[in-house]
C-alpha cells in the first residue's frame, strides 16, 4: 500500500499500461522531458524513450490526426491535451474522424485512442485553462467519455481506458491533481477494479441523491457531510462515466430517495445535467417528490481568476439546491 495523489495515480497508471503493451504511445505538447504542464507524464520519456513518449509541436489537430493514422496501423496512442480549452483545434479530428471511423468502416478499423484532458477550474487560471467541455464530446456518437475524481480511480481508469478498443475522452480534474492523497493497493489487479463505464455510490443516504463527477465529487461529499449536521441524509454518486451513462445506480438511488440534484462545473444550459435529469424523469417519474435540480457554472465564458470562486458551484450552491429540493 502506498499513498498517492491523483497526479501520481495517473502517472503510475500510464507507466503500467506502457509496460504491459508496447503498442501504447504517449503523445502531446511538452509531455517528454518536462513531463507535461501538470507532470502527469513525468519520467516516462526517460524510461520508455522518445519513440514512445513523443513531444509534438503545438498542433492539436496534427496530434489527433497523427493518432488516427497510428491507430490504423496498430498503435494505442494516448494524447495529452495540455488544457481543456486547447482541445478545440483538435475538435474537428476528434468529432469528424476519431468518432466516426469505426462506424464508417463498419468495424474494420478500430480507434483505441485515449484523449486525456485536464478539465475544470479552481486553480487560478483563466478561460481556455479552466473549462469543462465534456457535454460536447458526450453528445458525439462514437466517443466514450469518462471523468475520474480521485487518485485510486485515476490509476485504474487510465489503464482501462487505454485497453478499451474505442476512443475515450478521459477527463482529469486538474484542481485535484495534487490536492489529496489516497491509499493505493498495488496487489489488486485491473480485473478487481470496478468496470470503466460504471457509476458508484460513494456515500449512502436516504433523503436525496447528489450526482457528481470529476472535481464536484469532493464538493458534493463535503455538502453531504454538512447536510448531515442538519439531520439530512444525502446519498452521493460519482458518475465516473458520462458516455455511456450508467443510469442503473442513479435510478436505484432516486427510487429510494425521491429527490435528485445533478452538479457539474460546466454551464447548466444543455450540460450533462440536462440529459441526466431527463432520464431520471422518464424512468422515475412516480418516485419523484421534487423536480430534478441542476447546479453548475453560469452561462458565461469562464471568468477571470479573481472571481472564479463566485462562478464555480461550491458547497453553498449545492446545499441551496438540496434545501430547495427537500422543501418542495
Amino acid at each position: 500500500m502506498s499513498k498517492i495523489t491523483l497526479a501520481k495515480g495517473l502517472n503510475a497508471g500510464l507507466r503500467k499500461a506502457m509496460e504491459d503493451d508496447p503498442k501504447v504511445l504517449v503523445m502531446g505538447e511538452d509531455v517528454g522531458k518536462l513531463g507535461g504542464v501538470f507532470r502527469i507524464t513525468d519520467g516516462l520519456q526517460k524510461d520508455f524513450g522518445e519513440d514512445r513518449v513523443i513531444d509534438s509541436p503545438l498542433a492539436e489537430s496534427g496530434i489527433l490526426g497523427t493518432a488516427v493514422g497510428l491507430a490504423m496501423r496498430g498503435y494505442r496512442p494516448v494524447c495529452e491535451i495540455q488544457f481543456d480549452g486547447f482541445v478545440y483545434p483538435a475538435y474537428d479530428q476528434i468529432v469528424s474522424q476519431v468518432a466516426k471511423i469505426h462506424f464508417r468502416s463498419q468495424g474494420k478499423v478500430k480507434m483505441p485512442i485515449v484523449i486525456r484532458i485536464p478539465f475544470g477550474g479552481g486553480i487560478g487560471a483563466v478561460e481556455h485553462h479552466s473549462e469543462s467541455p465534456e457535454a460536447q464530446f458526450a453528445h458525439t456518437p462514437g466517443l466514450k467519455v469518462v471523468a475520474c475524481s480521485n487518485p485510486v480511480d485515476g490509476y485504474w481508469m487510465i489503464q482501462q481506458a487505454i485497453k478499451c478498443d474505442d476512443p475515450v475522452v478521459f477527463l482529469e480534474p486538474k484542481r485535484q491533481y495534487h490536492a489529496d492523497k489516497a491509499e493505493l493497493d498495488e496487489t489488486r489487479t485491473l480485473a478487481d477494479a470496478d468496470p470503466l463505464f460504471s457509476s458508484r455510490v460513494v456515500r449512502e443516504g436516504t433523503d436525496l441523491t447528489l450526482l457528481a463527477y470529476g472535481p464536484m465529487v469532493k464538493t458534493c461529499l463535503a455538502s453531504a457531510e454538512a447536510a448531515a449536521q442538519d439531520g439530512q441524509s444525502i446519498e452521493v454518486i460519482d458518475l465516473r462515466t458520462l458516455s455511456p451513462l450508467d443510469m442503473g445506480p442513479v435510478l436505484a438511488s432516486v427510487r429510494k430517495t425521491g429527490r435528485a440534484v445533478v452538479t457539474h462545473e460546466a454551464h447548466v444550459n444543455l450540460g450533462m445535467g440536462s440529459e441526466i435529469a431527463a432520464r431520471i424523469t422518464e424512468e422515475c417519474f412516480y418516485n419523484l417528490e421534487a423536480p430534478v435540480l441542476r447546479v453548475g457554472g453560469f452561462d458565461t465564458p469562464y471568468p477571470p481568476s479573481r472571481i472564479e470562486e463566485e462562478w464555480l458551484p461550491d458547497l453553498d450552491r449545492v446545499l441551496d439546491a438540496v434545501d430547495r429540493s427537500l422543501a418542495y
Binding site: 496534427g62 490526426g65 493514422g69 474537428d92 469505426h102 466514450k144 474505442d166
Partner: protein
C-alpha cells in the same frame, strides 16, 4: 528509370487503369442522373493521370489517404471495382457495407486508409501512418492525396510540419485542379505554385504536369525513394483539371466553356495513348482492346453491385463502437 509507356505490358496496365477510372465515374454520373444512386459524389474525370501515375509508383504494402474526390485513387491503388461500386450503391457487399459511400471508401487491408469527407482530414492521418511505419522500422511509405483547397486548411500545415521535423516517409500529393469548389487558385493563393510552400517546411517541393501520367510517376517515384531512404517527406503539386463540376449540384457558373474545352483537349488518357502509339509501344488495335476491356470491367462491376443486397437500417447501431469494451 523506365517510364510507364516504355513497354507494352506496363503501358497496357496504365491505360486500363485510367480508362477504368474514367468509365467508373461516367457510370456513377449516369447512375446519379437516372436516380439510381443517392447521396452525392465528386468526379475526377480529367484527373486520371494524377491518381494513376502516383499509385503506380507505390508498392502494394504502401498506403494512401484519399479525398472526397477519391474514386481514381482507390482504383489506381488496386481496389476491387465491384466492391467500390457496391459501396456507392449502398450495398452490404461494399467496402464499408454501404455505410461509407462515395466519400468514405476505405480498404485498410490493401493500404487504402480511407477517402475523407473533410477537406485536409486525411493529411495528418497520413503523417500518423508514416510515423507508425517509421516506429516499426518498415520501409513503407504513405501518399496523402489532397486538393488545392486543402493546402489552405490548418491541418495541412500541422501535418506537413510534423512530417518534416520527424522525417516521416510521406508524400504530400496536392492535386491542384484549379478550383476549390468555385474558388479559383488564383484567388485563394498569393503564390504561383503550391509546391513553393515546401520551402517553409524545409522539404523539397515539386510541381508536375498532372495530366502527364509518366511525368507524375517519375516525380512521385523519386519522392518515394527519398522517403524510403529515411530522408523525409516531399510536397508534390500535380497540376490538373476536373472536367465535371465540384459535385452533382454544380452548374459550373464560375468558369467558362472555353476554359473547360481547352482542358478537355489536354485529355490525359488520349495524350498517353498518342504517346505510346507514336513510340510504337502499342498499336491502335491494342488501345481499342484496352478501352473495350475497361468498359466491360465497369459494366460487370455495376451489374454485380446492383444484384447485391441493400444495406439495412436495422443493425445501424451495431458498429458505432467496438463489440468488446473494457
Amino acid at each position: 528509370m523506365s517510364k510507364l509507356g516504355d513497354d507494352a505490358t506496363t503501358a497496357t496496365r496504365t491505360l486500363r487503369t485510367m480508362w477504368q477510372i474514367r468509365r467508373f465515374e461516367e457510370a456513377v454520373d449516369d447512375l446519379f442522373a437516372r436516380g439510381l444512386m443517392h447521396g452525392t459524389m465528386h468526379l475526377s474525370i480529367g484527373q486520371e493521370a494524377s491518381a494513376t501515375g502516383t499509385c503506380f509508383a507505390l508498392r502494394d504494402d504502401d498506403a494512401i489517404t484519399s479525398t472526397h474526390r477519391g474514386h481514381g485513387h482507390c482504383i489506381a491503388k488496386g481496389a476491387d471495382l465491384e466492391r467500390m461500386m457496391a459501396e456507392l450503391l449502398a450495398k452490404e457487399t461494399g467496402y464499408c457495407r454501404g455505410r461509407g459511400g462515395s466519400m468514405h471508401i476505405a480498404d485498410v487491408a490493401t493500404g487504402n486508409l480511407g477517402a475523407n469527407g473533410i477537406v485536409a482530414g486525411g493529411i495528418p492521418i497520413a503523417a500518423g501512418a508514416g510515423l507508425a511505419y517509421q516506429l516499426q522500422g518498415l520501409d513503407r511509405v504513405v501518399v496523402s492525396f489532397f486538393g488545392d483547397g486543402a493546402a489552405n486548411e490548418g491541418a495541412f500545415h500541422e501535418a506537413v510540419n510534423l512530417a518534416a521535423i520527424w522525417k516521416l516517409p510521406v508524400i504530400f500529393l496536392c492535386e491542384n485542379n484549379k478550383y476549390g469548389m468555385s474558388f479559383s487558385t488564383e484567388k485563394s493563393f498569393a503564390i504561383e505554385n503550391i509546391a513553393d510552400r515546401a520551402v517553409g517546411y524545409g522539404i523539397p517541393g515539386v510541381t508536375v504536369d498532372g495530366n502527364d501520367v509518366e511525368a507524375v510517376n517519375e516525380v512521385v517515384a523519386a519522392a518515394v525513394e527519398r522517403a524510403r531512404n529515411g530522408e523525409g517527406p516531399t510536397l508534390v503539386e500535380s497540376v490538373t483539371y476536373r472536367w465535371k463540376g465540384h459535385s452533382k449540384s454544380d452548374k459550373n457558373l464560375y468558369r467558362t466553356k472555353e476554359e473547360i474545352s481547352e482542358w478537355r483537349d489536354r485529355d490525359p488518357i488520349i495524350r498517353f495513348e498518342r504517346s505510346v502509339v507514336e513510340r510504337g509501344v502499342l498499336d491502335q488495335a491494342a488501345i481499342d482492346a484496352v478501352r473495350a476491356q475497361a468498359t466491360e470491367d465497369i459494366r460487370t462491376a455495376v451489374r454485380a453491385a446492383n444484384a447485391a443486397p441493400d444495406a439495412r437500417p436495422d443493425d445501424l447501431l451495431e458498429a458505432v463502437f467496438a463489440p468488446a469494451t473494457a
